[in-house]
Symmetry: C2
Subunit: 261 residues, 2 copies
């Protein structure tokens, strides 16, 4: 099965080399800019293509589309002509499978890895969960097998668009919002010339606990203890930083309400 | 140096065995209840003591006080008589060194490990940062050395009460609030019968990134991308859960404002 990557962003930059290592045949990387197409193509040793998406090879069996959500529909439409029988799969958390039919390409699918990607770090897919969906049952089997070439079988799931959208929402809380808590912690320390490094073992232990306890049960800190003394003192330290205070108050209230519920 | 533990909670349950392994001489564990005093005393092989805190041994050189913030001052006062010359050190993030003078025991100190503790898990102190403060320079040296017996020298800091209070506030963001984000993620999934396990590799990768990038630079997700489509869809999914929606909106706004600043 010949695979072409449409898009060479953070997700593709991690997924393409992993598929290649797993024995996948990657024939081309397309990206809008020459530089990014060539960077990823050279990483996996295939042809690079850039400019208009119509320029992409017509000869792949599977097109993995990892472009911005906002342009995906247009990319599908533009790619369709000359590739009517190829399988297209997008990698987005919140876009429905129905997008392919709407864009005029009936053989659509979703291949969604639950992970946060950066170009600086290479993700180990062996523990990543994949969520797969396809218009045709045969295509679903094909993508489930592709996912199983990257991770263990128990991490590969067939999931509806509604479930995937919910998984994406959960990931926003678990990854994006948690990371923002780290950023605000860094802010609090930086203002006083204190090192954020001191937080790393604390953060790592917080995460290790998740393997043994549900997070609501592992909750510690002044909010869950209802320690009004410390809460009052910490609020006072944030009075001149309304953004941090708003987060402090919202999270404190939410922790207390969740433990009451 | 003979060490007595006053309090046998989560912190003491981790710290006492670690000090023992590092060669510390622990002579007694006091706790209000017999069961918890005996549980920790048997773990480190020392005498257990319970009931009134005055019952604690008068013969220790160092009393490590890890009791609730709200009772610490009273515990210091009650412990003072008969132990006038002993060193008392508390382990709290937000309580000032001045508390000891206020409670009538001038030889006070602080021995604050930056970590979250549970009784179920044994913390590896080798990477934990310690923040030390004492009324007397000699006592400060003594506690710095004690911390260095548990962790590497670069993780041991002499810190003022104001700095420690700020570190504690940063820890509330980095640990307590981040953990609450995990709990809300669990909530979102549980409601749909989806497995929180799928989030663990995502969360672990988010944390691994912190070793390479400052958290504000590592931020990903719809908020920082200003992806109004996904934000609108995710808000719609939360309309019947006002608590989660409040967190979603506050965090989204804070992520966007931090990236603008």
């Amino acid at each position: 099965m010949k695979i072409a990557f449409i898009g060479a962003g953070r997700l593709a930059t991690n997924l393409a080399p992993a598929l290649k290592r797993a024995g996948g045949e990657i024939v081309e990387v397309w990206s809008k800019t020459q530089a990014s197409a060539q960077a990823l193509a050279s990483l996996v040793g295939c042809k690079a293509c850039w400019g208009r998406v119509e320029n992409a090879t017509p000869e792949a069996d599977l097109y993995l589309l990892s472009v911005k959500d906002s342009v995906l529909k247009d990319v599908i439409s533009e790619l369709h002509a000359g590739r009517e029988h190829a399988l297209f799969a997008h990698t987005a958390g919140s876009l429905p499978l129905s997008l392919f039919a709407e864009a005029g390409h009936p053989r659509g699918a979703v291949f969604y890895p639950m992970q946060t990607f950066s170009k600086e770090r290479s993700v180990d897919f062996a523990r990543v969960h994949f969520f797969v969906e396809a218009c045709e049952p045969m295509d679903c089997q094909l993508l489930l097998a592709l996912a199983r070439s990257l991770t263990s079988a128990s991490n590969v799931h067939e999931t509806s668009s509604a479930e995937r959208r919910r998984l994406h929402l959960a990931a926003v809380f678990a990854c994006n919002f948690a990371n923002h808590c780290f950023a605000l912690s860094d802010d609090v320390l930086r203002a006083a010339g204190l090192p954020f490094d001191a937080m790393l073992p604390l953060i790592e232990e917080t995460v290790l606990k998740l393997r043994e306890l549900p997070p609501a049960q592992a909750q510690t800190g002044p909010a869950i203890r209802r320690d009004e003394n410390v809460i009052g003192m910490q609020r006072a330290m944030l009075l001149d930083q309304p953004r941090l205070l708003a987060v402090y108050d919202t999270m404190t209230r939410s922790i207390q309400e969740l433990s009451d519920s």
